[in-house]
Amino acid sequence: MSVVKTSKRTNRISGLSLSSLLIVLILALPIAVIIGFVFKGSVDVFSHLYDTVLIDYVTNSLLLMFGVGAGVLLLGIPTAWLTSVCDFPGRKIFAWALLLPLAVPAYIIAYTYTGLLDYAGPVQVAIREITGLGYGEYWFFEIRSLPGAVVMLALVLYPYVYLLSRAAFLEQSASTLEVSRTLGYNQWQGLFKLALPLARPAIIAGLTLALMETLADYGTVQYFGVSTFTTGIFRTFYGFGDSAAAAQLAAFLLGFVALLVLVEKYSRRKARYHSSAEYKAKAKLIPLAGWKAAMAYFICLIPVLFGFLIPAIQLAYWSFTQADLSDGAFAQLAWNSFYLAFLAALIAVGFALILAYAKRLNPRKIVSFSVATAGMGYALPGTIIAVGVIIPFAWLDHQLIALASNWFGVDLGLILSGTLVALLFAYTVRFLAVSLGAVQSGLDKIKPSLDGAARTLGSTPLQVLRQIHVPLMKSSVLTALLIVFVDVLKELPATLILRPFNFNTLAVRAFELASDERLVDAAPASLLIVVVGLLPVILLSRSIAKGRTGS
């Protein structure tokens, strides 16, 4: 492997570029299968879907997206602006605390609030005790509904908008805003005429990320009984065993996702354009006092309180006071989850390293293109990937079984679709982008001139790799491992579809117990997921804090 490219004229494709192409081709399989069904699928299936469920799915998904979109903007933008531009008591704490809800998967917050707010929950019990009213004699918000799902999803997805728009606000040069002051705009006019329009690409990018997660969500909508594409795909696949129809639905969902990806890419391109200024004067924070400071505090407190503190405390309370852990299954679940997540992280980061180095050493269009394609998996809902994996894997398995029994007279069993292979494959497709992002940002920091310096000082390419890249890449690789690990731990729909028989993970078990209305027993697994999920959030907040030390 050559660490410094010796020439841009080299026309042979290196082994590294070749393996990167191969990786991308294999990982594109699920998508190719789904898209294939768009053309292959019969009109009958589709018209049946159209007559029965499709309108419902589209309406619900659109309502969900609209509601969650409004919710994340409402929660994300004001908090981002307050913590980056204004100064008020608690600002520094809120700056990172507002990220905490990222650690809570939507399905966990959904059943935690159900336990709190349904008829037998502490809130309604208290209402009845205080007012003396009985069942049906008062109105109470029905959490298990589409609006309920909107609130739940918005509470854990707003950090995407918060994170990206905050970065945009911080990046806005003070001089830009100062120019507007010299031209006669006051601070508030500056906000609406300059700060917000400048941050718009970042806000849209955050919004589309949140909407992608909304489309991908299965646990929340399933638990709340809202029919969307993801639940529809499940029902068609399991209930009717109709993989063709499931794939058709998945393809339809894919269309939605593709649209969001395009919007996101477009807005990112603009975002890069906007942040080209080299020197950025640090803006002076606007001091808030009195009722204004109290308002700011309150606005920032609400998302943290409802998105993290209340559910986390409720889970901890259930776990430590009421949950039944006597059967010892918990340790097995944790072990299953952890080794699965760890394996997936190793594979995803390994592939990411190959892709990132292929791109660095051989910056041809085809390599760059394949790296970009590999990054698309993150936009795909787990349900789509699962369907796209199980169909070709089951087919392959049946071929293999037939082959083995014909030729060798042995019964192979399902070696692909019935084992962890399918699961690990799906995880890699979905989370390669995450690891790729972390690895690439680490690699970008190693300037090419470092390689050149080492080479002029007599190092061979392999020595450059060992002496310069390994030590410098260590922390980004670890970060990548951690992020994929946590993402796999939280992943629900693909795991549900692809897990081997009788194989359970924390996420699956928590979801099953909750669906059986055993909310309390689901709490320990959920709590563990949330606690582990906090690790990357802490990393993220630390890097945010580091970025702020200049001010």
Partner: protein, 373 residues
């Protein structure tokens, strides 16, 4: 070929993909000499430097050092086997290693004792003793650049390449660091090639300057030569300040202009009556209180030790003029000027209709000006 040549670049063409970046360049450098590739950005100077380092392959031609072929068509000696040191524009110190470890990176095969001695020697040389145990980020930009130089020189390379090493530093620092580094290279008798777009750096550092443009060497020579005897219109324009003055060839040796008739010591090579342009440097025009020749001051630039005026003559042409500081005149005043022209630089005329000069590479005729009539 000259026997004392240390580095020889012979007819080298470099390309990215199908596009040629550097065309048929030939250059040589003697031992202990400091060369400079000077040119605007995108002229191919860095690519040429990278090919000497072995980062780029040659499309045609050869690069030789000490009679060993470094690069030729189809064969590129790996960078690490060339015994070449390089200082990069972005400094490129290894952020995870201490200063001492950075400097010893290229001499790991030496004995511990020798390594330690070399580090001390080099830190002394670059004027930064006692920073061994510190990390790059704790040093200032100028200090980092000096460490990068020490690191590149540690293995006693046959040739040192400097790729715009000062462009990331502020002007004040540059002014002190450039002569400092030149002195260090001189003391070590290091052969070096500097790449820069800043002519002041080139003048201050180099024994030999090659002016590049669009992948070709326009002129190669001493700083004095390329300033006073530019061979192409590009060099005349790119190097130094100056104005082009219209003139007309009078006979084989002389040319008429608004400044009078200028006579060279060699044939100028134009037919009588040809319209030409003359390169006039600010130091060619002196202020002279009672000169019959005057011009109206159209601009004035205080430059510390002197004023740079631009004066407009009767025929609308503008000339630069440098005066000592006490000659403080206002814009609009008339200034008496006289001509002190040593070098007669005659260029073919730009198209008077369109003003287009597609003659950037056209030969320039030069001669010692021997008299003025």
């Amino acid at each position: 070929m000259n026997k004392t040549n240390h580095l020889t670049i012979d007819n080298v063409t470099l390309a990215y993909g199908q596009e040629d970046i550097v065309h048929n360049v030939s250059l040589s450098l003697s031992k202990g000499e400091i060369g400079c590739l000077l040119g605007p950005s995108g002229c191919g100077k860095s690519t040429l430097l990278r090919s000497i380092a072995g980062f780029e392959q040659v499309k045609t031609g050869t690069i030789k050092m000490k009679d060993q072929v470094l690069s030729t068509v189809g064969k590129t000696l790996p960078t690490e086997k060339r015994n070449i040191g390089m200082v990069f524009q972005d400094i490129a110190l290894f952020p995870h290693l201490t200063i001492a470890d950075n400097i010893t990176f290229g001499i790991k095969t030496w004995s511990r004792k020798d390594q330690k001695v070399r580090v001390e020697e080099l830190l002394q040389l670059v004027g930064l003793p006692e920073v061994e145990e510190r990390y790059p980020h704790s040093l200032s930009g100028g200090q980092q650049q000096r460490i990068a130089l020490a690191r590149a020189m540690a293995p006693k390379p046959d040739l040192l390449l400097l790729d715009e090493p000062f462009s990331g530093l502020d002007a004040n620092l540059r002014e002190t660091l450039v002569p400092e580094i030149r002195d260090i290279l001189r003391k070590e008798e290091m052969s070096a090639i500097l790449v820069t777009h800043d002519q002041m750096e080139a003048f201050a550092m180099a024994d030999k300057v090659a002016v590049m443009q669009a992948g070709r060497i326009q002129q190669c020579g001493s700083a004095f030569n390329i300033y006073h005897e530019p061979k192409t219109r590009f060099v005349a324009d790119f190097i130094g300040l100056g104005e082009f003055l219209k003139g007309s060839i009078k006979d084989e040796y002389s040319v008429d202009s608004v400044l009078g008739c200028l006579v060279g010591d060699e044939p100028l090579g134009y037919a009588p009556g040809t319209s030409v342009e003359l390169l006039i440097r600010p130091d060619d025009i002196q202020h002279c209180e009672d000169s019959p020749l005057t011009g109206r001051i159209v601009s004035k630039w205080f430059r510390g030790s002197h004023y740079l005026y631009h004066v407009q003559l009767d025929n609308e042409e503008v000339l630069p003029c440098i005066t000592a500081c006490h000659h403080d005149h206002d814009v609009g005043e008339d200034l008496g000027i006289s001509i002190e022209l040593d070098h007669l630089v005659v260029l073919p005329m730009c198209d008077p209709e369109t003003g287009v000069c597609d003659l950037q590479e056209a030969e320039v005729v030069q001669a010692q000006a021997i008299s003025l009539k």
